[in-house]
């Protein structure tokens, strides 16, 4: 029965239920002129040492049309990832290939940005503006990215200003339904030696939409009053080519979010508010010599979180220092080797800890890419992590791509990868709950895929199919022990298996150009073993993992007009691990019409958007009402 201590404890649970791990890092890199050699030969940076894995990018048209949305909205609309959003204003946590929010790594320019306290990223606080590229890497990628990359990884990279285009600027203003206002401005300069980019945004959303309150007699239509959000942030990137072979870059990223946390229907609103503020700074040095390419990254991240309600006031403030050094050596067209070291140090102040706590972690990795034949590519990676208190296992991965027809028509891909996740600082230091006996989570991922590219009747077609099997053992979860104390334990073993299908087509018909993408995923995520408690739910689908999700997008361009449509079908999701109660499937349609107007050298873009065109009533988290149909109009002016 809920009593006062339980309630205090709730904060801990709220926080811990997003519990996970932060961490390590990486091998992914900015694509800069100086690494072109490796890239030209071995492909995109994310794929050089992850042969056989499935990597997709959010396309730039979508990102620029929906630049005011959060990363959660963008990935929900365009990828098979499922986001559990606590209403229009609440946190958004991801389920990727059936894993939980802390089992997906989020990397910024190759370094993990999840705060080490919670070990997971709230995607509703991350914007999509200010990046060069947003990519999604499917499946275990821990040998490349370190702890937490069990279900997959989200790769954010700073824009790359190496095109020597001189000075450019861009401003966007947007207004929409439910009290939505957004502004974004950016300037960039790209010279021979120096490049500079600055992008800033601000967003206010009242979210005062109407919804049917299912908790009240007669289910009256009421107005949402507690879901307002204010966000702002900026990115700044400076690049300096000291010599043709040496490049220094500085990246800064600030995000601020202040919001009311939308209550569930039927729950009292106790003035729940949350303020998140993150400062991220990174310096990178790249140097090429006869020994190959040297890459050094030094980063400082600070994440501040302040939660308040009528009865609680809780703060968390964590500093992370990271250093990553890598050396890449490429020999001809056949092989490339990268060795590296990643060091992390965390200092955390949290109301749930006894004073300030700190922790250091390290990992070393060796990544090997070998192309023995023109149509056969292999990669073999190893990573060993070291952490105070824990003994993470040596993690290997192996991948291959084979093109049996000796051309690009068909590729067979596959990989076998290990993964791991270290317990979070909350798992370790939460007073009265932190569990020193915890073991790191361990994952195994096997996948096999086919990629087919062809041109049929002037239509470019790409088809891809991947099947995977993943096991995550020692899955850490907070649950009450026999005395009712909530604490993290290595609760269960989970088996995820699924199929991912995607197709894209491109065609030009005179002045009309058409492009369409479709994706479908089947995800089964079952508890296989339970190490503590009753184990009633063995063999059942984990909560909030949809068995089916499909996305479809189409874009048509004709002269100065373009129309972009996005369809998202999300199947039934259980709301507990017992498969008894569920949320209904939903279908969301978003449309955006853009008119391009040339004003001398400059460009004006007028966009009218409508989200949730069919006015679907849906929830992604139990009893949190989501917005109905809304409209947004935006003006974007690009110089030149």
């Amino acid at each position: 029965m809920v009593r006062f201590p339980f309630r205090i404890f709730f904060i801990c649970i709220l926080i811990a239920s997003y519990a996970g791990l932060a961490s390590t890092a990486v091998a992914q890199q900015d694509s800069t002129a100086h690494q072109l050699r490796v890239v030209e030969i071995f492909g995109k940076p994310a794929e050089v040492y992850a042969v056989g894995s499935h990597v997709t990018q959010l396309d730039s048209t979508y990102l620029s049309t929906y630049s005011s949305s959060t990363l959660a909205d963008a990935l929900q609309a365009r990828t098979p990832l499922y986001f559990k959003s606590y209403g229009a204003s609440g946190i958004s946590s991801v389920a990727f290939r059936g894993t939980n929010a802390s089992q997906t790594a989020v990397l910024w320019n190759g370094l993990n940005i999840a705060p080490a306290t919670l070990g997971q990223t709230d995607f509703s606080t991350l914007p999509v503006t200010g990046f060069g590229e947003v990519a999604v890497q499917y499946g275990a990628a821990a040998t490349n990215y370190g702890s937490g990359a069990i279900g997959g990884a989200i790769l954010l990279s700073s824009p790359d200003y190496d095109d020597h285009k001189g000075l450019e600027a861009d401003i966007k203003l947007e207004a929409g339904s439910f009290g939505r206002y957004f502004g974004n401005g950016s300037v960039r300069y790209s010279g021979k030696k120096l490049s500079y980019g600055l992008s800033a945004y601000s967003l206010w959303v009242e979210n005062d939409y109407k919804f049917k309150d299912l908790s009240r007699f007669g289910k009256p239509e009421v107005r949402q009053e507690h879901a307002s959000v204010e966000q702002r942030g900026l990115t700044q990137d400076i690049g300096w080519a000291i010599t043709p072979k040496t490049k220094l870059a500085l990246h800064g990223w600030y995000t601020f979010s202040d919001r009311h946390l939308q209550p569930a229907m039927g729950s009292v609103y106790a003035n729940e508010k949350q303020r998140d503020e993150s400062r991220r700074l990174m310096a990178t040095l790249q140097h090429e010599s006869w020994l190959g390419k040297t890459d050094i990254k030094l980063a400082y991240f600070n994440d501040f979180l302040h939660y308040t309600d009528r009865n609680n006031d809780s703060e968390s403030d964590v500093d992370a220092y990271q250093l990553q050094a890598e050396q890449t050596y490429a020999y001809g067209r056949h092989w490339s080797l990268r060795g590296g070291l990643n060091l992390q140090h965390y200092q955390a102040k949290n109301d749930g800890y006894a004073g300030e706590q700190d922790e250091s972690r390290a990992s070393v990795f060796a990544l090997f890419r070998y192309d023995p034949l023109e149509h056969l590519q292999l990669s073999l990676n190893l990573r060993q992590a070291f952490a105070e208190n824990y003994n993470p296992p040596l993690t290997p991965s192996f991948g291959f791509t084979y093109k049996p027809l000796q051309n690009d028509l068909l590729a067979i891909k596959g990989s076998l990868s290990g993964s791991y996740r270290l317990p979070t600082l909350n798992d370790r230091f939460w007073l009265g709950a932190g569990n020193p006996e915890l073991r790191p989570e361990q994952g195994k991922n096997t996948e096999l895929g086919l990629l087919h590219k062809t041109v049929l009747n002037q239509t470019e077609l790409t088809l891809e199919a991947t099947a995977y099997l993943m096991q995550v053992d020692n899955w850490i979860q907070w649950a009450p022990n026999e005395r009712g104390t909530w604490r993290p334990t290595n609760l269960q073993k989970v088996e995820n298996k699924g199929v991912e299908l995607s197709a894209s087509a491109k065609r030009k018909l005179g002045q009309l150009s058409l492009q369409a993408n479709a994706g479908y995923t089947y995800t089964s995520s079952e508890q296989q073993k339970v190490y503590e408690g009753s184990g009633n739910d063995v063999g059942k689908q984990l909560m909030y993992v949809p068995l089916h999700k499909g996305v479809f997008s189409a874009e048509a361009r004709y002269q100065a007009w373009s129309l972009l449509g996005n369809l998202n079908y999300t199947g039934l999701r259980y709301t507990s691990n017992s498969e008894t109660n569920s949320l209904d499937s939903f279908l969301l349609l978003n449309l955006a019409l853009t008119r391009k107007i040339k004003l001398q050298q400059n460009t004006l873009l007028l966009t009218l958007r409508t989200d949730n065109v069919t006015d679907e009533v849906y929830q992604t988290m139990l009893n949190r009402a989501m917005p109905p149909r809304g409209y947004t109009f935006s003006l974007r002016f690009i110089i030149p």
Binding site: G218, G266, L622, N623
Partner: protein, 362 residues
């Protein structure tokens, strides 16, 4: 809407009063009330997850051995019951469901579970008790920093007619001969309210943090105090130097004095879930990961272990003497109910909703 609601409630209350009358008059013919939930069975109160509004009521039918989950939603066109379902009280043909973090008490027909009305505007309500067909009482925490109160509810139109300020975080209430005993969990007192005047007429000091109250066969009131949990000044840990141990105390209602008080041996665990059997001579409670049984005639804590496990909720069927324990598991899925004979052997087990915290026997 509110007026309509009240009108509807009045209308339903009127028809209910009529049907209650019919029921009473038919009782002699052994012709019980009809409805899916009128049969021999047990209602399970499933608290749900805090802030998710997924609390529910289950009904286990003893004749068919079938469990029905989420019966409020089922009988009321999919309406959500609410957030933290704390208590269910049945009085003649009405059931009162206290929904703590929804600030309301839902009133339904106990036999059909169809909605009759809602008591709104109660602040963090906890437990409900019915005096007669016209009047009920509900404890309200109000907030964590203010004194709590008892709201007097008019059972004809489901409105609060009066509030009585008492101690901090009032929990359980028990009617004994026209007097209402209320535990003030945030303090070390039991308030006694005269139901004729609805005023506090006595405040009895008991060991810290009283939670549960039961009446024994000798008409004495047993109070279980959990003990006060004191945190360090920065709220980061429990300060065991100042935390007090729980206690089981006996109040004589004719004098309103504490006649006996037995303190638990440790302050590291808080006792809870006090229940009494139908014959009023055996007390059950949970403490330190175990379930204990205590004879009311014992003159100390006998430490008789009934079961080597604890429960999230515990009650005793007054007719059969069977002990029902609710196991919430990890709160991430359905809870499980275990049923034991008074000798401790398990009779059966069934699945309930999320976090089963209490039982009401039909």
């Amino acid at each position: 809407m509110k007026n309509l609601n009240n009108f509807r409630s009045l209308f339903l209350a009127a028809s209910l009063a009529f049907s209650a009358f019919t029921f009473t008059s038919c009782n002699d013919d052994n012709d019980g009330p009809s409805g899916a939930y009128a049969e021999d069975g047990v209602f399970v109160v499933n608290e749900g997850n805090f802030q998710q509004s997924n609390g529910s009521i289950s009904f286990y039918n003893n004749n068919t051995n079938q469990i029905q989950q989420g019966i409020f939603s089922k009988e009321n066109e999919g309406r959500i019951l609410g957030d933290v379902v704390q208590d269910l009280t049945i009085s003649s043909d009405r059931a009162f469901i206290v929904v703590n973090n929804s600030n309301k008490v839902e009133v339904v027909n106990a036999n059909t579970f169809q909605s009759l009305g809602t008591v709104e505007g109660v602040a963090l309500p906890r437990y409900f008790t019915v005096l007669n067909n016209d009047k009920g009482y509900v404890t309200e925490w109000v907030s964590f920093s203010s004194p709590g109160r008892v709201a007097v509810v008019d059972l004809n139109d489901y409105t609060v007619t009066k509030t009585i300020e008492i101690g901090a975080q009032p929990e359980d209430l028990l009617l004994v001969g026209g007097k209402l005993y209320v535990t003030n969990n945030g303090d070390n007192t039991v308030s006694v309210i005269n139901t004729a005047t609805d005023a506090v007429e006595a405040t009895i000091t008991v060991p810290d943090a009283p939670t549960d109250l039961v009446l024994d066969r000798n008409n004495n009131v047993w109070v279980l105090s959990a003990g006060k949990v004191v945190y360090t000044p920065d709220w980061s840990a429990i300060d065991y130097d100042q935390t007090t141990a729980g206690a089981l105390s006996l109040i004589n209602p004719s004098t309103n004095t504490v006649q006996a008080s037995y303190t638990f041996d440790s302050n590291q665990s808080q006792p809870g879930n006090l229940a009494i059997n139908g014959s009023g001579d055996k007390l059950y409670f949970t403490y330190n990961g175990k379930t204990f049984v205590q004879d009311i005639s014992a003159s100390s804590l006998t430490n008789a272990v009934f079961l080597d496990r604890s429960f999230y909720g515990l009650d005793v069927d007054p007719e059969t003497g069977y002990i029902y324990g609710g196991d919430a598991g990890g709160f991430s899925g359905n809870g499980t109910v275990y049923v034991y004979r008074p000798d401790g052997t398990q009779v059966k087990t069934f699945t309930a909703g999320i976090a089963p915290n209490g039982f009401v026997f039909n």
